[in-house]
């Protein structure tokens, strides 16, 4: 599974997916506007943005489904729409948003159909169903599948042919929490095998602990790229401390912090909330430590990916 891309090596880049100045215009609308993106081999990369931010269009451009108005998109060093597109496609798995399969086929027949198109031996289909937990429903018609089962079947289809790059558009839609956990376990296994994965999600809390890096898109542009932590630092959002004293004592907390440029000190139900700039984090912690044994709990609340996201996209 962990193959190499000779063409990428020749170009002297580790990026398995390399996007340069990708632009797509629909009349006067710039759906995707000059996007640069590099995704490294074995990386789990998130792409987030509001509806209409351009992520689905960019996704389809990276897959070669939509021709770029301008720019260059390469997968494993080869252009996605060139004469070698068949070879490129065989290295790629795609799970579309709201995947639609054929109701009249069984799960196994569905995979057989896609396997033939991908030139994958039919015997791989059973294993793929097993992997996504659908082995027991292999011979049932897709018509009888629940939304979550269809999503799993779509994922099994994407895994056919041991792709080296997976494009997953809203992959956990319709899955219950248990299935979402299993899904990310599979992704972890694939990552260990060197598979590169690009996924979109609306549920930012779900991906913030799981992706290696992510890009935030708005108005057709990539507004920021990096690890969740790097984006937090780049956004420089303030962080919150939650301090609990026994007995509750708002005044001592305020007194401990009176010399420091904290942004807010507020008494809450059973704790005191303190907001400060990121670069004040350590001094505030030291000052709070001076409260000694009165302090029974201290919780640092980093801005969530959601806070970062709104910071960049608004």
């Amino acid at each position: 599974m962990a193959g190499t891309f000779p063409a990428a090596a020749e170009r002297g880049t580790d990026a398995v997916v390399a996007v340069r100045g990708a632009t797509k215009h629909y009349g006067s609308v710039r759906a995707v506007d000059g996007v640069d993106l590099d995704v490294a081999r074995g990386e789990l990369f998130g792409l987030i943005g509001h509806n209409g931010a351009g992520k689905s269009t960019l996704f389809k451009m990276m897959l070669g489904l939509i021709a770029a108005t301008s720019g260059d998109i390469r997968i494993g060093g080869a252009p996605v729409t060139g004469s070698g597109f068949r070879e490129v496609r065989r290295t790629v798995g795609y799970l579309p948003e709201n995947v639609v399969l054929y109701d009249n086929l069984t799960g196994l027949e569905t995979l057989h159909f896609f396997a033939r198109l991908k030139r994958v031996p039919a015997k791989e289909c059973g294993a793929a169903l097993e992997r996504v937990g659908l082995a027991a429903a292999a011979n049932r018609r897709v018509r009888e599948y629940s939304k979550g089962m269809r999503q799993r079947l779509g994922f099994a289809q994407a895994l056919l042919g041991r792709p080296r790059i997976l494009f997953l558009d809203e992959p956990t839609t319709g899955l219950d929490p248990e299935a979402i956990r299993e899904f990310y376990l599979i992704l972890r296994g694939l990552k260990a095998d060197g598979v590169t994965m690009i996924l979109t999600s609306h549920i930012l809390a779900e991906i913030q602990e799981r992706v290696d890096r992510l890009a935030i898109m708005a108005a057709g542009k990539v507004q920021a790229t990096g690890t969740v932590q790097a984006l937090r630092e780049q956004m420089d959002l303030p962080l919150w401390f939650r301090v609990r004293l026994a007995p509750p004592d708002f005044e001592s907390v305020r007194a401990a912090l009176c010399e420091l440029p904290v942004l807010a000190v507020e008494a809450r139900e059973d704790h005191v909330a303190v907001q400060c700039r990121r670069d004040q984090k350590m001094v505030v912690m030291q000052a709070l430590a001076s409260l000694g044994e009165k302090m029974v709990d201290l919780h640092v609340h980093e801005p969530s990916l959601e806070d970062v996201f709104f910071g960049f996209s608004d």
Binding site: P96, V99, L101, R119, Q157
Partner: protein, 271 residues
């Protein structure tokens, strides 16, 4: 162009129509109509029973000319737009397949289903009537079945083209019905109208050639002119130049009616 990819798509389309009994239903419709026409076609004249293959074919031609274009258009109108509207087109196109391969695969699969229904449906009739048919009659009958298959494929080609151009299924179905009305009901009336309005002074000579612009007319002529006995039954025979009445030439025109819409569809779909 990879024929294996075309074959994979075509096989799926074909087996889908076998499994949902579409092929069976259409074949039975053809058999039932053909038998009714063969046995009761002359009921208005006060007789029942099989008369001659020529008369039977002439009646069948009038039936098939309405029925097959309709069935072909209904079969093909959502080939592409249906996948697009359901949302399954992107996934298909993300496979190692080109757009023309997908289009041709769809077409060949549907064409095979329609051709199979036609051959089986009318083939059953041939078996039922075999006792009354000599070799020449059988030859005529198979000529009729063959031209019916071509007629279906021509209208299927038009339907697939419409399904590439239409932005949604509703529009595609509207276009398909309009196409049926135009070629099956309006076209001949229009030609006749022009002929009558101009008192035959304008377009009279061009008329036979204009008939080639309608695959339904080509089908009709193909069957009339291959049956010398009934040729005189139709007024058309008097206006149609002998030079164009060659079965091979008419078959070529029919093939052009299959290739051209598919070519346009492929060009459009690639964009």
């Amino acid at each position: 162009m990879d024929p294996r990819q075309i074959g994979t798509i075509a096989a799926k389309e074909f087996w889908d129509r076998i499994r949902n009994r579409w092929v069976l239903a259409v074949a039975l419709v053809f058999t039932a109509f053909a038998l009714v026409i063969a046995y009761f076609g002359a009921a208005q004249q006060g007789t029942v029973g099989f008369r001659s293959i020529e008369v039977t074919i002439a009646s069948l031609v009038s039936l098939v000319i309405y029925l097959i274009p309709l069935i072909a258009l209904v079969l093909g109108f959502d080939a592409i737009v249906g996948e697009r509207e359901r949302g399954s087109l992107d996934l298909l196109l993300s496979m190692p397949i080109t757009r023309p391969e997908l289009l041709l695969g769809k077409y060949f699969g549907l064409a095979a289903a329609l051709a199979f229904s036609t051959v089986v449906g009318f083939g059953l009739v041939a078996i039922v009537l075999s006792a009354q048919l000599d070799l020449t009659a059988l030859f005529h009958f198979f000529g009729f079945v063959g031209s019916s298959v071509l007629l279906g494929m021509a209208f299927l080609s038009i339907a697939v083209m419409l399904s590439v151009f239409a932005s949604d299924r509703t529009r595609a179905s509207g276009l398909a019905i309009a196409t049926w009305f135009f070629f099956v009901l309006v076209f001949d009336l229009l030609l006749l109208g022009v002929l009558v309005v101009t008192g035959g002074s304008y377009g009279g000579d061009a008329l036979p050639y204009l008939l080639l612009l309608n695959p339904a007319d080509v089908f009709r002529i193909l069957n009339i002119f291959t049956l010398d006995d009934v040729r005189t039954l139709y007024g058309l025979a008097t206006v149609f130049p002998r030079a164009l009445a060659e079965p091979w030439l008419l078959t070529l025109v029919m093939l052009a009616w299959i290739v051209a819409p598919l070519g346009v569809a492929s060009w459009r779909f690639r964009k």
